[in-house]
Symmetry: D2
Subunit: 343 residues, 4 copies
């Protein structure tokens, strides 16, 4: 049995990892750490786990994770880069859900995160963990940077168009909406039900940290530089990311529906909607699924792609489990056969 | 492999049954019927199932259910009583999620449902399917009436007190709140997001159809007549039932926390909260779990019990699967090891 | 023109006072204080006021309030009692929306609030500001303690029954649900949309600070001791309080609908629903209105009263304006002719 | 006193008109019609009006509207065009909130609405009622077509850029999100809380009926043809429209913030956010206000405008009252000094 551990288990990606890993038949959760909650029963903090686990939070310095085959970092950015090296040195494999190793360009990382990167030497070996793009590299990686939630939805939406070379890569637009859980489990007035409920707003319009990650990923897919205008929004819901993508068609007579279906036909976690149907965040809630629709309104030259994922599953913890399955050579959907929860 | 079928699959209990049964390793879903949607792919109506099943709705008269070992009725009241008899005659076993066979008193049923019961002869053999009360009878039953959502929460909350005989059974009060899915997947103005959202109201105060079912169940537990004042409310959420129960203590020096923990210690799907913690509907969302807390405010003689379930799981489809497991002699939690979805 | 000021303007009751007072033709808002936001434009914090006011927050020690005829305290408990005295000494009149002067029994206050009361000498002159009970005393008061939100709904619901002497005052039960704004504009994890959304829970079951206030008020109405079991709940919405009240009828042949309509026939802000209709929080949202229905289920001896108010209006700031109107001899509905906002 | 009437008062725009008009000091609501609810008290259907009005719904054929100075049509499309003529013939003035007279091109109307227009002769005299564009024409019009909700937000957002000629009018993109009330008060499964709650989706991507209206309006502003890609979304909230607009700058060195502030400096109902702040639908809820922010991300050549309105106020009924004020020569903000409701 494979043993896994989680660093930073008090946030939403942490409890979501637990939801998936506790039912995963191929692994055992050995330890989950939290500096602030050390000694507390996990089920006490997250009552969904009452009767499902006896795990307690342990101190990250306790050594409890040292024997784990796989270590997940479910921490805010700027934590993993301080301690990933020690795990790698012991030969352990690491899946980092934070932003620390997503950008290959250290200077770009430091510009957007406003501080020095303390482990730049590890960046070159970090594999960007979008399975639909990097499956082979993930399989053999020791350190995987799991993609962000917005980036997952936007890359999977543009991918068929960029791979086929049918759009202008310099004029990409993404208008995305996220549920409030994307902001994490932190006490902020802006995310109170009384502030975020019954409201919709854009934020970070002048620049969001996911922009360089997305542009890096899209450029890799397109094999040329790209330019993206990205506007994230906060929607009055708990879970879900919906991205609406706009691009200018540079080719004509492309059967877009066929293109998307062909691109994703073998992907277990990407579904192309039947023509005329659009994805909703509710139909992927709780599931490691990305649903996509492509439309060419009025037959004009602008193509519209709409994409829905659960930000905590395919946008974070579910994708991390998918990455783990690939790294371990397990069936890719092990522990991920969860069906979305409606209504 | 056991084969099961679902009558009336276009509602919320239907799709919830599918969510649970499609992942249940002991059974195969053979057919799901709908008169109005016959021929349509189930995943077309419920996109959570895209890529998870090729099932199509079939006409209830097609005979597709005739070979099923277990047939679930996920229909509104007044449907099952017309056709259950034929299934029973063929030796099939039936779990009815509707109200048709919940009341043993035919006259009472006819009074509350405003029409004649067409299968009164089948009522005596119908077992009321609350596992925590009737587990043995369920195991051998051919026809089980799965309890309603409010009744499940209220009976499980009062049960320890009534069994121990420590409250006055003539002065019971239940103030319950339900998510909107309790009203089913029907086009009604009252249940639009614009009407039911951001609002809270009581309804059916002068009399709700679940009242006689609850009083029947409580009387059976208490082994004496009971009287309940029951006020249901509509809460601005999709899933969940929360019941707040009030009773007058007729005994003193009862350790209520001990009583509740002892009563439910062996129950796989009932959890007693640690003292000082209260259940929330969000921590049982999607799970076949009932969480209960008991309190004696200010040490006065009024006891307060709070109970949370997911109305579509422990209050309907999850409980129906639990019933099925008991009927089939399977481990009671087969297919029900789903962990609740937070946030 | 009457000048008014607000102490503690960064919370929800503060901005709600501004919404009402800025449109009130009989008064001018002279100043609004906040220690933390001093110097900031109010409309910058609350963009609903963009273009509607040039007010800036001022420091509470700036003396800006010293010339106001009326001073509102929209502060958390334990603030007003430190500085109300100085205002009273200058001959100003004070409406305190906090809990500091609601309880006449100092020891009881200190027991529930866990600290010493620093202005016990002012308590005797504080008038409890429920207009429907204390209108005359309010008119001539210098210091008014505006009632809490739960207490307003519960007292108005029980009042007709207690005044008429038709229920047992020792067996009162209130099951109330509040929107999240009742918890104020404070950064707490429990009140994030991701925690409080799509969920319902009881809290403070073992004892809520509003209990002694309610019991004090009900005893005054009943002119005898009362005993109340009070369970508050958190509902997944921003605004609104709904109280469901249970009492045992001690008289028979009472026409409850008549009793309620007669009691409130002259009250401008209490409406009795037509028989068979129940109040909803959405139909009083934004309005200084209390809607009430009374029911006697199945003709049994338990009476059920349901009450809806907007916790920030009739439960706080609207009621404070109503109190001010009474104190100033203005028409009681001046500035309060706001119609609720649906949907 | 001016007398006004409302045709079709059972929908959300109808009750919203009542909320505003009943408090408008310059007009009296003479009659409100509804074929289905004739004879019923308006407050019975909309309890927010309990105690505020004794109006009853009257049959549209009763003649009750014949003496009104102004008649509002708050009907679905395809109703007003059948009866507006008779009102105009009597010399009455009409404000139509529906789509019947918004498009000047009859053929285009018939293409998008799928039926023949029955009053094409009235179209030329219909004034498109966006005050910020057509104030003078509105003042003297007999028939005004009030703009749609999406069109209002999108036109006001692009207006400064198009008037200044600084963007490419052939590459306009609008990604808009609407609350569910935009779909009206109609019983549809898609708009149940259980379906529309906690979810976000695009709809009508291949073509929405507001597209030709918006393109017509933008072309009039730009004084040249335009091309817009418009994607509407459904957000899980009751009220509010948020539009995120993208355009390609054709000029450099434009101070966009200055441009927007200068354009709207005299407009009573359009506010430009301070630089770095973005509008939210919650801060205009219930108010006849449009809040706008303009951003040029990373100094690149794509400009982003975000716009928030309340779809039922500035997007419908509030704007209709604003139009009425202009037609009657009243102060434009009469009856519209309502402050938004937060939280």
């Amino acid at each position: 049995m494979i043993s896994v551990g989680i660093v930073g288990g008090t946030g939403y990606t942490g409890v979501e990892l637990l939801r998936l890993l506790l039912l995963h038949e191929g692994v055992t959760v050995e330890a989950i750490t939290s500096r602030s909650e050390a000694g507390r029963r996990v089920a006490d903090l997250f009552p969904t786990l009452l009767g499902r686990t006896d795990l307690q939070f342990t101190d990250p310095d306790s050594g409890a994770l040292d024997a784990c085959d796989i270590v997940f970092f479910a921490t805010p950015h700027n934590v993993a880069m301080h301690s990933v090296g020690a795990f790698l040195d012991r030969g352990q494999r690491v899946i980092d859900l934070s932003a620390d190793f997503r950008l290959q360009d250290v200077a770009l990382w430091e510009q957007w995160y406003g501080e020095a990167h303390v482990a730049p030497d590890l960046i070159p070996q970090a594999v960007y963990g979008l399975p639909e793009v990097n499956r082979d590299a993930i399989a053999s990686a020791q350190l995987v940077a799991a993609p962000g939630c917005y980036p997952t939805s936007i890359q999977l939406g543009f991918l068929p168009l960029l791979q086929a070379g049918v759009i202008d890569p310099k004029r990409l637009i993404a208008s995305s909406a996220s549920g409030v859980s994307g902001a994490g489990r932190q006490a902020k007035i802006d995310h109170l039900l009384t502030e975020a409920g019954e409201s919709f707003k854009a934020y970070g319009v002048s620049g969001h940290r996911h922009l360089p990650e997305i542009e890096q990923g899209l450029a890799a897919i397109a094999e040329q530089p790209v330019q993206l205008t990205f506007v994230p929004h906060l929607a009055p819901m708990s879970r879900g990311i919906h991205s609406t993508l706009f691009a200018h068609l540079s080719a004509s007579n492309v059967d877009l529906q066929d293109l998307f279906e062909a691109t994703y036909t073998d992907e277990p976690f990407v579904g192309v909607m039947p023509s005329g149907q659009y994805p909703q965040t509710r139909t992927v809630r709780g599931a490691n699924h990305c649903q996509i629709a492509v439309t060419q309104p009025q037959g004009r030259s602008e193509v519209v792609v709409t994409v829905a994922i659960d930000n905590l599953v395919k946008g974070a913890s579910g994708q991390a489990v998918q990455i783990m399955n690939i790294m371990l050579g397990l069936p890719e959907s092990s522990g991920l056969d969860v069906i979305g929860l409606i209504p």
